[in-house]
Point group: C2
Chain length 231, copies 2
DNA sequence: ACAAAAGTGTTCTAGTTACACCCATGG
DNA sequence: CCATGGGTGTAACTAGAACACTTTTGT
């Protein structure tokens, strides 16, 4: 079986890194990113995207989910591939090609992710990020941009909200991600017209007038074949 | 400096592959893809996307351009990253992670790309593709989909046309890529309103009434900051 | 003369925007 | 009773869709 490999070692190392977004609603809503603090060189002590090296014969998505589980305890979240970064020099240890992923989680399912071992994980508002290791700042910016665009024509926003949510929360989410305020009446008319929300009949009680709780109806969305949904 | 590498050999191999599109206009326009015929196992004799392994400390985009130059003689084309494929088993030689790229070329700049050595390269209409090696069929489909979507909100279509083109050619291109006929009057009104075309004053003479030649004005497009361009 | 593609306006519809007040609750 | 977010309709404007005939050239 000699000669079956086209080129020999050394080769670039292959890693995965994830930009994990979550939102915090309430009085001052914020879009947040989950970061881990590095214990080892290079960039020891610096904050970085969660991630790590891909194992032998390991699928890329499997590797991304594994690393997130190991480093932050997350599981069962939305995950899509973002882009791959391979500029020589981006990792001082040697040429490393990193496949970046976009992950969306329900923020409240993962309150302060306790750092039991050397690794510490924490949520940071995107408006107040620490300096990041490697080229992770660039990757994170690409993730934000992807999230913003994708929100327009696919229903991934619901991955960030609890299963039941008020229209005010949904609107706050949209405003958060594309950074611009939306007209309340027009917004409500549009989501109603989209036909993908169902009124649960329940209400959320708070310090003000109770708000109706809605949920996203995926079956109804799929039936529309993605036609014209945009939030 | 011992211990600086986090994990040791073996690692996945890293490759690049490109989906190269070109259009042939004229009486029966077609969208075509540039493929090469493999000389070596695995899949010897099968058609495949042009591509190859990434060199030590080689940038991914540089590797993609180098492989395309080596295998097809192309240079100076539009190139954007598509996605990365790393399913174990996708390459029978061993775990290979391939970064796929979307390339757009002016078809007439590269008429039958002569196969001087063992490698043979040829254009295939997307409607009549041969069976492809590896998972290249899947990658090609992703490239088509990306091209279709991207055409809507960025001016990459012009990368497929000659520097000067008629409105009929531009419309044929759009119809080709999204597979649906467009209304001639509405189409012309829209591109005129976009303000990104300049009338060169020249005409193309043919067997019928001569058509005005237009060119794409990138400076004017950039000034609009991508606002509302859609073809 | 004829075949073939170029070129040209109007009407209707649907979707998007702008805009302000009352309601229900907890404290 | 007050503060806070929840909830509601209408009119103007804009963008997109539908639609058919005349013009210019080569053969």
């Amino acid at each position: 079986m000699a000669g079956r490999f086209v080129y020999a070692w050394p080769r670039p190392a292959v890693a995965v890194d994830a930009v994990v977004f979550g939102v915090l609603l309430g009085p001052s809503p914020s879009l947040e990113v989950l970061l881990i603090r590095r214990g080892l060189a290079p960039f020891a002590g610096r904050w970085a995207l969660p991630g790590g090296f891909v194992g032998e014969d390991e699928d890329l998505e499997v590797a991304a989910r594994r690393e997130l589980a190991e480093e932050t305890g997350l599981s069962g979240f939305y995950l899509e591939q973002l882009a791959t970064y391979g500029r020589p020099g981006r990792d001082p240890r040697g040429h490393t090609v990193s496949v970046a992923w976009l992950a969306l989680v329900r923020r409240l399912d993962h309150v302060p992710v306790g750092g039991t071992d050397a690794r510490e994980a924490a949520w940071f508002p995107v408006e107040a990020l620490p300096p990041l290791a490697f080229d992770h700042g660039e990757i994170l910016a690409a993730g934000r941009e992807r999230l913003r665009r994708r929100l327009r024509y696919s229903p991934i926003g619901f991955e960030l909200l609890p299963p039941q949510f008020t229209l005010g929360e949904l609107q706050a989410l949209v405003e958060l991600i594309d950074g611009a305020p939306a007209d309340k009446r027009n917004f409500r008319r549009k989501v109603e017209a989209s036909g993908v929300l169902v009124d649960t009949g329940l209400h959320r009680r708070g310090p003000q007038r109770p708000a109706r709780l809605f949920s996203f109806d995926r079956a109804r969305y799929d039936a529309l074949e993605g036609r014209g949904f945009d939030l």
